[in-house]
């Protein structure tokens, strides 16, 4: 049977972009459907009736929702370029740090747009503490996944976005001086064509910054 893969996504959503990167890393051909979150397609509502969120991957008409669930599904279905290691302990570690990024770092970043003055400084301190956790994870490794880009690298792409948007806003959220390994990792992944293809295009970065500052909750997971 011919494989048919569709991705319902949204250009500004890091969760959606994550899945795109995963698809490109495994060289899986797919059809991309851009969702307008204020006017969702009937397909999206049918495929994700409970949460109505993007991204949703539809594989031969079977929908999978939640970015990390999608990525694990992809890893089990297409065995080339594996994202997760084979060892159960290493897998648990990758999942732990991915959850850390999604549950701790991303919400703190979302909060940042809503703060000012002292509160903003404290939030940036919090972000730096979280960055340290990730910096420690990179010790002795080229990528979070070890020798090759993997599961945690895909989730950590948010760091690349921050780095790029930081140079636009002039506000350095990421401390690349304090965390040289993260900086090196950013440089290393940005040399990869697939990574570049999944970054927000330059002309849309201002829009993204503005959207991020309004901290929309409608997107995804």
């Amino acid at each position: 049977m011919e494989e048919e893969v569709k991705l319902h996504g949204m250009w500004a959503s890091p969760f959606s972009r994550r899945v795109e990167l995963a698809l490109k890393l495994k060289a899986i051909p797919y059809q991309y459907i851009e969702e307008d979150l204020s006017n969702k397609t009937p397909s999206l509502l049918r495929y994700n009736p409970v949460h109505k969120k993007v991204p949703v991957l539809v594989h031969n008409d079977k929908p999978v929702a939640e970015s990390m669930v999608i990525i694990e599904y992809m890893d089990e279905t297409w065995e080339n370029n594996p994202f997760l290691p084979r060892d159960p302990y290493e897998r648990a570690m990758a999942r732990f740090y991915a959850k850390f990024i999604d549950d701790k770092l991303l919400p703190t970043l979302a909060k940042l747009g809503q703060t000012a003055g002292k509160e903003k400084e404290e939030t940036i301190e919090e972000i730096h503490e979280q960055q340290k956790v990730l910096e420690d994870e990179l010790k002795g490794k080229q990528f979070f996944g070890g020798q090759r880009i993997g599961y945690l690298d895909i989730v950590a792409m948010i760091l690349v976005w921050l780095h790029l948007t930081g140079s636009i806003t002039g506000q350095k959220v990421l401390s690349t001086e304090k965390f040289p390994l993260i900086y090196e990792w950013i440089e290393r992944v940005m040399k990869m064509e697939v990574v570049n293809e999944c970054l927000i295009p330059e002309e849309k970065r201002q829009d993204w910054i503005q959207l991020a500052q309004r901290a929309p909750k409608s997107a995804s997971n």
């Binding site: 694990e72 599904y73 279905t77 159960p88 897998r91 648990a92």
Partner: protein, 217 residues
């Protein structure tokens, strides 16, 4: 090499219960260590420096943190007995419980931590969420289908807290979600579950103490 499994836990923890159940399902012998959360052990701080929280599963000296990650780990390491997750990738993707995790816990917390109008709202949202979950269950004996699985493990611990929620919020979960209660009682017939969940009255007494401590009446 002999397997050494330790679980750092706190008896009323919904999250700790998940790992207890998973370990019991697989018949794994382990050492249970009760933590005093107001006075965390050096071992806990060493094994979970990022969050400093229980439960922590320590397998041959190596820590695994976060309850659902522990359940998946247990399922992957001891894969030859009582599988908790389906082997088919698509089936596995559709049973992932992660979305229950934060939502139900937060809503339930608000039911016992608040009063007056805030509590009334919390109760309403909590019941709505339970109804959604009951819908997911449908007519199946377990969330996993014919056999007890990952989502059942993730969610059954909440049953030990139902009495406490009901007393605090003055409502009956069985009246609102009879199928869910039937499912819970079915799960409680499993030794792995019955042995892992604390007594509901004990949980309620604990919650009353917590309310006093937080000054909620």
């Amino acid at each position: 090499m002999a397997e050494e499994v330790v679980l750092l836990d706190f008896w009323p923890s919904l999250f700790g219960m998940r790992s207890r159940i998973a370990l019991a399902e697989k018949g794994i012998k382990y050492e249970y260590k009760e933590e005093d959360l107001r006075n965390k052990s050096a071992l806990l701080l060493q094994m979970n420096p990022v969050h400093k929280k229980i439960p922590v599963l320590i397998h041959n000296g190596k820590p695994v943190c976060e309850s659902l990650i522990q359940v998946q780990y247990i399922d992957e390491v001891w894969h030859d007995k009582a599988p908790l997750l389906p082997s088919d990738p698509y089936q596995k993707a559709t049973v992932r419980a992660d979305y229950i995790d934060k939502k139900i816990y937060d809503l339930g917390s608000r039911v016992w931590k608040t009063k007056g109008e805030e509590q009334a709202t919390a109760k309403k949202e909590f019941i709505e969420s339970l109804k959604l979950i009951e819908k997911e269950l449908g007519d199946k004996p377990y969330f996993g289908g014919e056999s007890f699985g990952y989502v059942d493990v993730a969610f059954i611990p909440f049953y030990s807290w139902f009495y406490a929620y009901e007393k605090c919020g003055n409502f009956s979960i069985e009246a609102e979600c009879p199928k869910l209660i039937a499912w819970a009682k079915r799960c409680m017939q499993k030794e792995s579950v019955a042995k892992s969940l604390p007594d509901q009255q004990k949980v309620y007494d604990f919650i009353l103490q917590m309310k006093k401590h937080f000054g909620i009446e």
